[in-house]
């Protein structure tokens, strides 16, 4: 490592600044442009309370995307997260059974279910060598069926206020912004933990190595199988957290998490992650999720009918990835 760092020190400040600017993911520019566009439509959205509201609404997707990134950089997909979210909401409403004192042990159980799903996903991919697309697709079908079977097809019960507080509650009084959503606190804590794990511990480097070249990683002494399992467990845990927030925000709904898996993958890719592994950054992925949510807000403000928002989302995802692919080719 020593020679490498001396080379870096020899570089002039200007060239280092240039390199730093070039290494900034374009998603941050996109995000800022989207926020400016939202501001021109309705300036109240850019006041602190407006931003907090946007963050609160985007929190489930942002957390989910950060988890999904762990799987993507290791070279896989996790399609099961949406159904884990739905199962979390369903499980919470049935297990809490309208008694607020049940909330805490129920949350523990929900995490246990999620972790079990993640371990199974990871084991299937690592030891049974099932492609992650198929393994997590099977898990998606199985968990979706299990959730509906559990409720008998129609949701029952409701979520107690202390459970819903995570998704829709506010911390008040807080100076300057008056009230601060719990969901944003959860978002900040989870993001900080995941950024730390990915960018400041060996875990992230090892996952990147696995995704870049699994065989080389193995020869370098990385426990490839275990790394993959860890990635799926992280993804599943974020799905449970996202489910708890979404349940608090939207109430009981047996398909609360449907479609989130593809949104999370899209968001991670918007944030510069490369499918099939080897490249990605947690903050950029989180920014990708926020940009996607900001885009929905903007399209809403522009008065576009809801279905057309899907179409615009599709075009933008393709455009962003095509841009990234083309610029990667040019720099080569």
């Amino acid at each position: 490592m020593a020679p490498l760092s001396t080379i870096q020190q020899e570089k002039s400040f200007g060239s280092r600044l240039q390199a730093a600017l070039r290494s900034i993911s374009p998603i941050y520019v996109v995000l800022i442009l989207l926020l400016i566009a939202i501001g021109t439509q309705n300036p109240t959205f850019l006041e602190p309370s407006g931003i907090l509201n946007l963050l609160r609404r985007a929190a489930p997707l942002m957390i989910l995307t950060a988890g999904q990134l762990f799987v993507i950089v290791a070279g896989g997909f996790d399609l099961s997260v949406g159904s884990i979210m739905s199962l979390t909401v369903i499980g919470a409403s049935l297990l809490i059974n309208n008694d607020p004192s049940n909330t805490w042990w129920v949350i523990v159980v929900l995490f246990a279910i999620g972790i079990a799903a993640g371990v199974i996903n990871g084991t299937l991919v690592s030891y049974f060598k099932v492609p992650s697309l198929i393994a997590t697709l099977g898990m998606l079908l199985a968990l979706r069926g299990a959730g509906l079977y559990w409720t008998g097809g129609a949701p029952r019960g409701y979520l107690t206020d202390n459970f819903r507080a995570f998704g829709r509650g506010w911390l008040e009084p807080v100076p300057w912004v008056e009230r601060f959503p719990y969901a944003v606190i959860v978002l900040l804590v989870v993001s900080a933990i995941l950024i730390y794990l990915f960018h400041y511990t060996n875990l992230g480097r090892q996952l990147l190595a696995v995704g870049d070249n699994a065989r080389a990683a193995k020869l370098a002494g990385i426990q490839v199988e275990k790394m993959r399992i860890v990635a799926f467990v992280v993804s599943a845990i974020t799905a449970v957290i996202a489910g708890i927030l979404q349940g608090g925000f939207g109430g009981v709904n047996p398909d609360a998490g449907d479609g989130f898996e593809l949104q999370a993958i899209s968001a991670a890719v918007l944030g510069g992650a490369v499918l099939l592994g080897g490249r990605g950054s947690v903050p950029a992925a989180i920014a990708g999720a926020l940009a996607l949510e900001a885009l929905f807000t903007l399209l809403n403000l522009l008065g576009l009918p809801k279905p057309l928002r899907d179409a615009v989302q599709g075009l933008i995802i393709i455009g962003a990835v095509a841009y990234a692919a083309l610029s990667a080719r040019r720099s080569r």
């Binding site: 099977g138 599709g314 080719r329």
Partner: protein, 328 residues
């Protein structure tokens, strides 16, 4: 069965080029017969139920053949479910129950399908967008346009067009013949044409193929066009069964993910270059047998989904577990 006869059977299967998935198909079928005899009414081998079983597999089967083509090229198509919806809605909207408008409607949806496939192929090959994202994006665009234009069942197909879904030639339903012809044509294209050989080459290693002088982009684009056309065919079959098209018929059928699962269960590698439509047919039939068996046994609809998910994983695991390659 002794170990020796098992080995000789294995070599027999290898020599006859029957994909190994047919062994799973037989096991699943025998298991279904046994389970049905013990817990059900023991009617699963009756010709009515067997015929129904195959008819149920037709919709998924046709599009899975196209999905096999793109997956052989190491691509994937997540837009098929939306294209099936578009086809069903547009066909029934244009036909409006008038037999004279059938040719126009069929031509229109085939045109739409070819165009969507072309777009998918161009984005994947020329813009170098990961196929997962490219076709997901195209699917979202189709979904958005469709849902913005139609909200419910629209139009109707004339009685004559329903022959596709319900008609019979002698004792054999036309739909089964359609599925078989698509499979046979697909198998012939893959094994006997230059395009088929190029497809395996591109799926095996796109860079090597390009350096050997193949126009790899064209191969990928053509594979996507073929896939979209099979999705259109499935859409036409679905609308002829339903008699009218609604914007949710494709997505509710989960044709995107299920067709991919059927192809992989059928032995085609997700990484491309290996497999074929004959294996896919077995994969689709396995799903059909499971559905029929669950119905015969009266398994809860939701529990059915759980078992289905588990069986997809098990079937794929049964041959990936032996491979040395690392799949992610």
């Amino acid at each position: 069965m002794t170990a020796k006869s098992l080995t000789s059977m294995r070599s027999l299967m290898r020599d006859s080029k029957i994909p190994p998935v047919y062994a799973i198909l037989v096991v699943v079928f025998v298991a279904a017969i046994v389970l049905d005899a013990i817990f059900g009414r023991g009617q699963i081998t009756s010709s009515t139920i067997l015929t129904n079983m195959v008819v149920r597999s037709v919709a998924l089967g046709i599009v899975a053949m196209g999905q096999t083509f793109v997956m052989l090229a190491a691509s994937i198509d997540l837009s098929v479910a939306y294209l099936i919806s578009v086809t069903a809605v547009m066909a029934s909207y244009i036909m409006q129950g008038d037999p004279n408008r059938v040719p126009m409607a069929v031509a229109a949806v085939l045109g739409i399908g070819a165009f969507v496939g072309l777009i998918n192929g161009l984005i994947v090959s020329k813009l170098k967008v990961n196929p997962f994202i490219a076709t997901l994006g195209v699917g979202l665009v189709l979904k958005g346009i469709l849902n913005a234009s139609f909200e419910n069942f629209v139009g109707a197909v004339p009685r004559s067009f329903q022959t596709l879904g319900y008609g019979q030639i002698g004792p054999i339903p036309i739909s089964i013949l359609v599925l078989l012809s698509v499979t046979i044509v697909g198998a012939l294209v893959l094994s006997r044409t230059k395009f088929g050989a190029h497809l395996y080459a591109v799926g095996g290693n796109v860079e090597t193929s390009r350096l050997s002088g193949l126009r790899t982009d064209r191969v990928i684009i053509l594979a996507h066009v073929i896939c979209s056309l099979t999705a259109v065919l499935t859409g036409l079959f679905v609308v002829s069964r339903l008699r009218s098209g609604a914007p949710w018929v494709g997505t509710d059928g989960l044709y995107d993910l299920e067709s991919i699962a059927a192809v992989v269960v059928g032995g085609t590698a997700l990484s491309g270059g290996k497999g074929g439509v004959v294996g896919t047919l077995a994969g689709v039939l396995i799903f059909g047998i499971l559905d029929t068996m669950f119905n015969q046994l009266g398994v809860d609809t939701f529990l059915k989904q759980v078992l289905r998910g588990a069986i997809i994983i098990l079937a794929v695991a049964s041959y990936t577990i032996r491979s040395r390659e690392k799949a992610a």
